[in-house]
Structures are given as C-alpha cells and as structure tokens.
Assembly symmetry: C2
Homo-oligomer: 207 residues x 2
C-alpha cells in the first residue's frame, strides 16, 4: 500500500502495476490479491489514503472553511499528482474519505450553517469545482514540465501549429485573446473560479 503510494509519487500512476508494487515488496504478482480483489480497489485505497492526509478544515466563517478545504485538496494533488487523475473517477467511500466529509460538515456547522440541505449543497458544488480545477491544474503542470524538458518540440511543433491555425483566419477572437489577455497562472485561475463560486454562494444563501 505505502509501496503503491511511493511508486505513484515517484513514477506516476501508469507505473503502478500489480507486478511492480508486489516486486517492491519482494513478492509474486498475485501476492496483492490477499489484500485487494482488483486493481481498482488498490487505487481506491490509495485515494482514501490521500484523504487521510488532508488537514482539518479551519476558519470561523463558512467561506473560510470552504477555502481551507479547497486548498487542502489542491495541496494534496500537488504533492501526489496522480490523485488528480483518480479524483471523481469512481465513487469513493473509504473510511478516510468519509472522515474528511464528516470533518467538513462539522466545520460548516460550527461556522454557523445549520441546515443540512445547505451544507450538502455547498459541499457538493465545491466538490464539483475542485475535481475539475485540480485536474486541469495538474494537467497543465505536466504539460509545462514536458515542454520545459523538451522545449525544442514545443517550438518546432506546437508553436508553428498554432501559428498556422491562426493564419487560417478562422479564430480571430481567440487569436486576439491569446495575444492581448494577460496570461493567468493555474493558481490564479484556481483562485478566480473559487472566488466566483464562494461569492455566488454567499449571495444565494444570503449569509
């Protein structure tokens, strides 16, 4: 289990094969089936284990609580990039996941939200946003790292490709936006969307 985590952190999710994990423990391929029925189950255990790392939500207002939850998940995904790939992919009901939901709900209640429908609503909506935001940020981070390691490919393939596309004249607004808009970092976009979401909740809930 910890072996699987370490392997995923070190070499990425696609390197996590039952053989390699078992090999890291000096065991045969089928050894893991004593603890797990299928590979999906191993992945779910890994996800649950990350939920177990998440810090207690903090903050006195519900907005601060939601912000701290969001940042906790984002930070975890930056530590374990594979977490982003698994997030939202299967329903997760592991003990640590349930405990994290419990802590989140309790923190919201402590911050003054007493209606369960409201609590669940804001938490579910935040979850939807987080799944996508974290996923896209990690994707972008990987892309940047790849083009950083190999800038030649970027300059010889992607850039001329975009130039050709723009030269067709089919994308005038997009071209203008790419040229004129200031480039926001992934972290900025994350904050931006989170801000919109929380502000919308605050007005909608009249809190």
């Amino acid at each position: 289990m910890q072996a699987a985590l370490a392997l995923a952190d070190a070499e990425g999710l696609e390197a996590v094969s039952l053989r390699k994990v078992a090999g890291a423990l000096d065991a045969g391929p089928m050894r893991l089936y004593r603890y797990v029925d299928t590979k999906q189950e191993l992945l779910e255990l890994m996800v649950d284990s990350v939920y177990g790392e998440l810090p207690e939500p903090t903050g006195s207002s519900w907005a601060e609580v939601l912000r701290s939850i969001a940042n906790g998940i984002r930070d975890a995904a930056l530590r374990h990039e594979w977490f982003a790939d698994l997030l939202g992919g299967r329903p997760h009901f592991g003990p640590a996941t349930l405990a994290h939901t419990e802590r989140s709900l309790a923190a919201l209640r402590a911050a003054g939200i007493d209606d369960v429908d409201t609590m669940m609503g804001v938490l579910e909506a935040l979850d939807l946003y987080l799944i996508g935001a974290v996923r896209k940020e990690i994707t972008q981070r990987r892309a940047e790292r790849a083009t950083g390691e190999n800038e030649r490919e970027w300059q010889h393939k992607t850039f001329p490709y975009m130039a050709r596309m723009f030269a067709t004249g089919h994308y005038p607004t997009l071209e203008e936006a790419v040229h004129d808009a200031r480039h926001r970092s992934a972290a900025e976009v994350f904050e931006l969307g989170l801000g919109y979401l929380l502000e919308g909740m605050s007005h909608h809930l009249k809190l």
Copy 2:
C-alpha cells in the same frame, strides 16, 4: 475514427484498443499508425470530434451564453460518456476545440463583454467547473446503472458497509446529513453549482 467513436459509445472507453478499432475496419493492428502516432493522439482526435458536435452558444446575456455552453458540454457527455473521462486529462488543441473556444468568445463579446481578460477569466473558470461536474455526474450515472443491474450487490455489500461505518459513531454529522438531507439528483447539483458560479461572476463583474 468514426469507428473508434462508435466503439467507445457502444462498449466504453476501455474497449477502444488499436486492434479492435482496426479490426472494425478489417485492417491489421498497425494500420491506424498511418493516421495517428500514438493512442493518445487517437483519443485526442475523438475528443476534438465531440467538440465539433457542440452546438453554437446561444443567448443574449453573457450568463445565458455561459449556460448554453455548459449545457452543450453536459449533453455531449451524456451522449458520449467516455468524453467525461477524457475531459481535462490532456491539453486539447484540435481544430474543433479551437473553433468551439472561438465561438464561445465571440458569443461572449456579442453579449456585451468586451474586455478580453474578463472573457478568458469567466470561460476558464466555467471550464474548470464543467470538467469536474461532468466527470462526477457521469461517474454517478455509471454507478447507478451498475447497482441497478445488480441491486443484490448493493444491498449485500455497500449498504451494510455504510451501516457498519455509521455504527462506529465516528461520522455523526455525515450520518445526519445522509438521513435528513433531501437527495439531489446529479442534474440538480449541476444546476446548483452552475448557479452559484454564474451568480458569483455577476456580482464580481458588476454586470
């Protein structure tokens, strides 16, 4: 290509293997490498082809435009469930994807947003939300279908599992929420979060 799409629609993304796609065309396994360098590239073509199906954004206000974009993507994911698995996973720069972004930006401008930074900001934030919302809704749909087909497993495994978990007394708030909160359908949660997001934008942008 169309063969890959049909295969993914019919049997799911994991059934899309180069051999099966080529087989559907009465060709050898390597035949596809004439059109594609790697399997990832095939998947990217599939994603781009779905972007090509998306309807023109409609609406006279920017909020209506964003709503129509959101619904267009959601409907596409409901048609092609595998689309949700691929969304946000890799950077997509296909022609149809670019065209979709172009149409979205143009529609926003036509609806009165003239600042490129604002246009990009709301579109990126919406994108983050959509990736997660669509992904989770499809996941949930699959889970419901699976337990629908095989309700015995749900009743003999998941339900007692949750009951045991609650019986530990570690999740009092969660237990209360599960019992007392009204169950929202995936579509409702999608709308709820989208409403929060748009309302937040509207107040933040003072439009």
